[in-house]
Amino acid sequence: MNIKVLGGGCKSCEALLRSAKEAVANKGIDAEIEYITDMEKIMNFGVMSMPALMVDDKTVSAGKVLKAKEVEKFLR
């Protein structure tokens, strides 16, 4: 499973990254987490609201800081 956290490096983006890491640890699954701050790359994903979360290259959340519990729901 591949998880991407997209953001400009601000506080809320880092909070989402933490939640994602926590969620993966809680679930005990084998997932790779990428933290993408390169605007060029972000743009190619077509997401406008930061921070955003992608699971297996599908945008599942944008413009929201999710808690670990909420991230877990997307990790099936």
């Binding site: 060029e40 406008m48 930061m50 929201k64």
Partner: protein, 332 residues
């Protein structure tokens, strides 16, 4: 009726006298400088905190209807100056954190929205938001609040239109212009429950983020309120200084603060005889332009456009400031 709302609900006059009585009861004389500062500080912190929580909750509900994806679509339906006006209006209700300004800029540009419309949106978004409208009403009254919002929107519309007329499309960072991504993600449909949860989360996160600024802002306000001689403020920011507005704008631009933090400072300055326009210029300058946001924007646009953007905002803010100073008597 309106006076009741103005004084008791928005202004919370009773809270001030209650705090005064409580302080007297514990042996602090509110007529002394220190006592007065403590009263101002407690009153303002409580008032702004309550207003902030209620406002953010209501506003987040409205905002949840206008994610950037939908705003982009709405703006795409309008043309000419109409698009700028819609852009400026949507800027006031579309929620985004400062680090989203570039993705939004890119998203708008790559969707083919005119540069000027995007800028109308980007100017009005930090300068005029619904929260500032109600806070301004609470402190300065209805007329000033409405005048502030309207003038802010006018700056956004004119600023955007000017940038359009200058044809600076070549000033957008190359990677944005050359990209041909036109991914269209639909905004998800939200239920009433989703919106309420969103609003609640917004209240908690905004409160955590903004509270230190409120404390600092009110602290500075309390200092000004009771310790700085009126004559100083009148000399620098009052009618005797013709450059007060320009000075206030230049000082305000690099500063980064939330509107909730700037208002107590503004309130105290006004009470001390600073001119209204000078104060409003300061507030607009602080909220609209700040070093962090300019550094962000620098990644997406080239220096010439960035400079034009800063210049247009500053000139607009300065004109508004002098305008308010001239018409101050009609509004207060």
């Amino acid at each position: 009726m309106w006076e009741f709302i103005q004084d008791e609900i928005l202004g919370m006059k009773r809270l001030s006298s209650l705090i005064g009585r409580l302080l007297t009861a514990v042996g602090i004389d509110v007529n002394t400088r220190i006592g007065g500062s403590v009263q101002f500080f407690l009153y303002d912190v409580i008032k702004i905190t309550v207003l902030l929580c209620v406002l953010i909750f209501l506003i987040s509900n409205i905002q949840s209807f206008f994610p950037p994806e939908r705003s982009r679509k709405i703006m795409g339906r309008f043309h000419g100056i109409g698009a700028n006006i819609v852009g400026a209006l949507l800027g006031t209700v579309t929620p985004f954190c400062s680090c989203s300004s570039i993705p939004i800029f890119m998203g708008f540009t790559s969707a083919g929205l005119p540069l000027g419309v995007t800028f109308s949106f980007l100017i009005s978004s930090p300068m005029v938001d619904l929260g500032s409208l109600v806070l301004l009403m609470s402190i300065f009254g209805l007329k000033i609040a409405i005048a502030y919002v309207i003038l802010g929107l006018i700056i956004a519309v004119i600023g955007g239109t000017l940038i359009e007329k200058l044809h600076m499309e070549d000033q957008i960072a190359d990677f944005i212009r050359n990209s041909n991504s036109s991914v269209n993600i639909e905004a998800p449909d939200l239920t009433v429950k989703d919106r309420l949860i969103y609003a609640r989360d917004q209240v908690t996160s905004t409160f955590k983020k903004v509270f230190p600024y409120i404390l600092i802002g009110v602290g500075i306000g309390a200092l000004i309120h009771n310790w700085i001689p009126e004559s100083w403020i009148q000399t620098i920011l009052g009618s005797s200084n013709p450059f007060g507005v320009i000075l206030a704008t230049i000082i305000g631009v690099p500063m980064y603060a939330d509107i909730f933090g700037t208002i107590p400072v503004a309130e105290a300055l006004l009470a001390k005889g600073a001119l209204l326009g000078t104060i409003l210029s300061f507030m607009m300058a602080v909220t609209t332009l700040s070093l962090p946001s300019l550094i962000m924007l620098k990644k997406a646009i080239k220096p010439k456009l960035l400079g034009t953007f800063i210049a247009i905002c500053m000139v607009g803010i300065i004109i508004v400031g002098y305008g308010f100073n001239v018409f101050q008597n009609l509004l207060i």
